[in-house]
Symmetry: D2
Subunit: 305 residues, 4 copies
């Protein structure tokens, strides 16, 4: 096991039922940039990301997440992690170079919660919107909410213990925050960086569910603007603007046209590997999730894709 071989969430492939509507949502409203298409998929990136894509939209009959991919340090790390994931008991599939355009070989496996994950070491450099030589310090013409980057996913599944063990012991993630009901862990927030979370899991009877895909903003003002954009374009709001107890992030949740939940958020605590895990008791779950309301709306708990 080696910490820090996994760099970050590198992409998520989202199933959408109307590709054109989804592209409008993720570009004009959320603010991503279309960088590629193939016969079935549209590739997107945020303005402050360098790699060729971080979101892939695939037209399908049902919404949800096809897979989430993590970028690893290099090919050696990829090989070593592939072996360790297999030793952990996951079946590993190799997806050849360029099956996703501009992306190197991917190592795919199913986590105990039923979600498909991938590791990859290479993706072509596209460049961010400000450049790397005497760059401007801001982007003047952001579109819509102006998402800065794809940040994390929150996933629902049954074998929480298994997926948490896989991410901590094999992939080197740290447990930054958790919700417990007595001895039972019911939610786990995991990071491979200094961020408050790079992925999170909630214990849930059904496998392989997507709760939300999250994108980073920079300020609480931008969270307000995100809400304003939702109103102007009649995007279904789930909840917010508000604050999370967990991670301290300022947040707003909404749905894409296919019913996949999105989050945009700003701020949040910084993680270091020597920090203690923050623990929330289940009876404080409302406050943990929505710090201001201190109660969960049913939609937030039950609507997953």
């Amino acid at each position: 096991m080696s910490q820090k071989d996994v760099l970050r969430p590198g992409h998520v492939c989202i199933r959408v039922m109307d590709l054109d509507a989804a592209v409008v949502h993720y570009t004009d409203r959320l603010g991503l940039i279309e960088t590629e298409r193939d016969d079935k998929r549209v590739y997107l990136k945020a303005w402050d990301e360098y790699d060729w894509f971080s979101v892939v939209l695939r037209e399908a009959d049902q919404p949800g997440m096809d897979f989430m991919g993590f970028k690893v340090r290099d090919k050696d790390a990829l090989e070593r992690l592939a072996k360790e994931v297999e030793n952990f008991g996951c079946q590993v599939e190799r997806i050849p170079d360029n099956e996703l355009k501009h992306c190197g070989e991917r190592v795919r496996f199913e986590a105990p919660t039923g979600h498909m994950f991938e590791l990859f070491a290479d993706k072509e450099f596209y460049g961010n919107s400000t450049g790397t030589r005497n760059p401007e310090a801001f982007l003047e013409d952001v579109k819509g909410m102006g998402a800065h980057r794809f940040d994390h996913c929150l996933l629902y599944g049954d074998d929480l213990d298994g997926s948490v063990k896989l991410f901590r012991e094999v992939l080197g993630f740290d447990l930054t925050e958790q919700v417990v009901d007595g001895d039972l862990q019911i939610a786990a927030f995991l990071t491979c960086s200094n961020k408050a979370h790079d992925i999170a899991f909630i214990r849930n009877p059904e496998k392989a569910k997507l709760h939300h895909v999250s994108f980073m903003l920079e300020t609480w003002e931008e969270v307000l603007r995100a809400g304003d954009i939702m109103s102007k374009y009649d995007i279904t709001l789930d909840i917010g603007p508000t604050r999370h107890g967990i991670t301290r992030g300022r947040t707003i949740y909404f749905f894409d046209p296919s019913g996949n939940r999105n989050e945009v958020f700003a701020g949040g605590s910084t993680w270091y590997p020597d920090h203690p895990t923050i623990t929330w008791d289940a009876e404080q779950l409302g406050k943990a999730i929505f710090y201001h309301d201190r109660q969960l709306n049913e939609r937030f708990l039950e609507v997953v894709t």
Copy 2:
């Protein structure tokens, strides 16, 4: 009729069922300063107000609003307005000087919606917390949400047409925004200043109801902090942080320990007497009130005191 004889909302007297709990709420949480007591009432002001008080808490069996008072330019304006209010058809009562401590004579009358209002010309100068000679530009140690001033009330009552006529034609207020259902006005936002509203009314079967008492903050960051304070001290949130369509204000609603609804908000449009009234159609009421959700929670519509 003379515009601009009414300067601003000068005070509101709120009925509370537990005076001690109410004082903690309005001082330590909302951030007001206690400036006076008499045998039955506690007097409060916000840190950036000059007059001796703007909120009076009175212990009672039921929550609600006893009366709202407006400060007028001077004694001449007071006398002239008293006469005009009487001519309009309201019974006028004179409350002697110092019945509310530090406050001059008040002219009290009942509006067609059943609410009690007062006009007064004099209130003793207490001073704000930064002073008037080489003042600091901010207050370092605000308490709780740090409300800057008492701003307005939103009231529910039956004879909306009557109260709006009284405020526009007699008291010189302008109609900044309204909600209409066909030809029927169902909400009216009225100002005696450059503010988006100094008082507002909603048409409602029952007379004399208080929807909320509102206090001004300066920024959207302060609205976030207000929500944070609510969570820390387990104050019941109604809705927010969010944005209003009407007035554009950034807002959060909550309840005092007696169930009276409070608002703190920041920002909002500027009014001039030559501006057009902004009109919202009833089917857009959700968006008009809560711009992000675009729907009203039942509590917001039905809970009044």
Copy 3:
């Protein structure tokens, strides 16, 4: 004398040496909208203003301000004020209807500090960018700094006492803040509204000088963005982002391509006619003007147009 007959600063006519460069500056950078041209002038308004224009650019050999105009309540107010200004000792000139397109008759006079002012009662309605029926609560596509409205001017001139007397006693303005050197008033901030200032004067040996034309933003975030826009387009910064002691506003100063100083700012205190004037001592002038630096740069003191 009648308070509140003057509604607000209605327009300013700025001399620029290169009209095309000025139009780019005031539209693409500051965010105003071009609404009209005549053979020598370009007319502009901010996105949240209703009247046809608030800024007029005139090509000339020297930068500076031709005149500043105030909108008054109606024709009666215009006639009465015209007479009172004349009685005060100013020569009054009538500029006929439509000399500035879309603007009614203007009453022009020279103030004791040598500045030309105008009063007018009528200007055609153009409409703001969000409309008056179920409007959106924000403007998605602001240009550049996104100025919300023309706000005020700061002017330098010799007979400060005369101009202050004219604005207070004839035009009904209030003195919100002042700087004094012993008994000598050296700066006066005057309002005809609830704003912290609608016009300001600094005592200065030379007559008829323009220090800056100011435009309102809504938030401290927007002040940051204004600075960012300056950097991207190489606009000369004067000072900021910073805070004023006087008015408490958050501010940034810069120059148009002809050397006229502009300000964009957000926030600031609210004025009521019963409020005390805030007084700053000359030895606190640095802090009064630039609250953080507590010293004036020479350019700010000496560069006027």
Copy 4:
């Protein structure tokens, strides 16, 4: 060489000429918490840090930095890095456990620029101000500027190439941004995390100079408040509030009572090891450092301690 054995800047020891004045500055004004004293030193931490201290103040005849310490992952990492630093050519000194109270053994060495650095693996846990079980998401009563954590130092010295080589090749830091004059690197920003910098060096004829010690805030609003606190307590401002081109951070610089420069800042770009280094040309140095002014004040360039 092993990446990620160095976790973060763990402490800085600052020389101050009047200890009492320094303690007031770093606690009541900057917002740190005093956690320990010994006969010559005062230990401080920020409210959101867990370890016992991050700043040590030592009374001395001259201001400046005694040393900066980095926390490493564990004792193995400490031993391995100690060896590699020695192999690099630095003389290594062992400071015994508890010489700085609550801190384990430290490995001290002099970098080629003349600065003293330390590595340590253990420091006692003190806890942050919100706790780890169902914590509040904010701290209500921050003091002064409310610094969240000690963030980084900027150091001036002669052998820039040597120190950069040491940090990159031995300590595993990445070069996030740099300023170059043709082929000559004149500034280097280095990180051991996802932060835009954990340490930075500027090429300078004299060895071992401190330019500033930097503390993190969370928002641009907090940067404004920091400026306000400076004004209220007459703390010497260097420059700001403004934006950096390098790192994009929002910032304000000021001096402690001994003349050591402090920074508080918010925001900034996120680093990943596969990101390209951002390069600034020397002729863009003004914009790189102060994005709005696009010029450096002489004080910023020349005053170091």
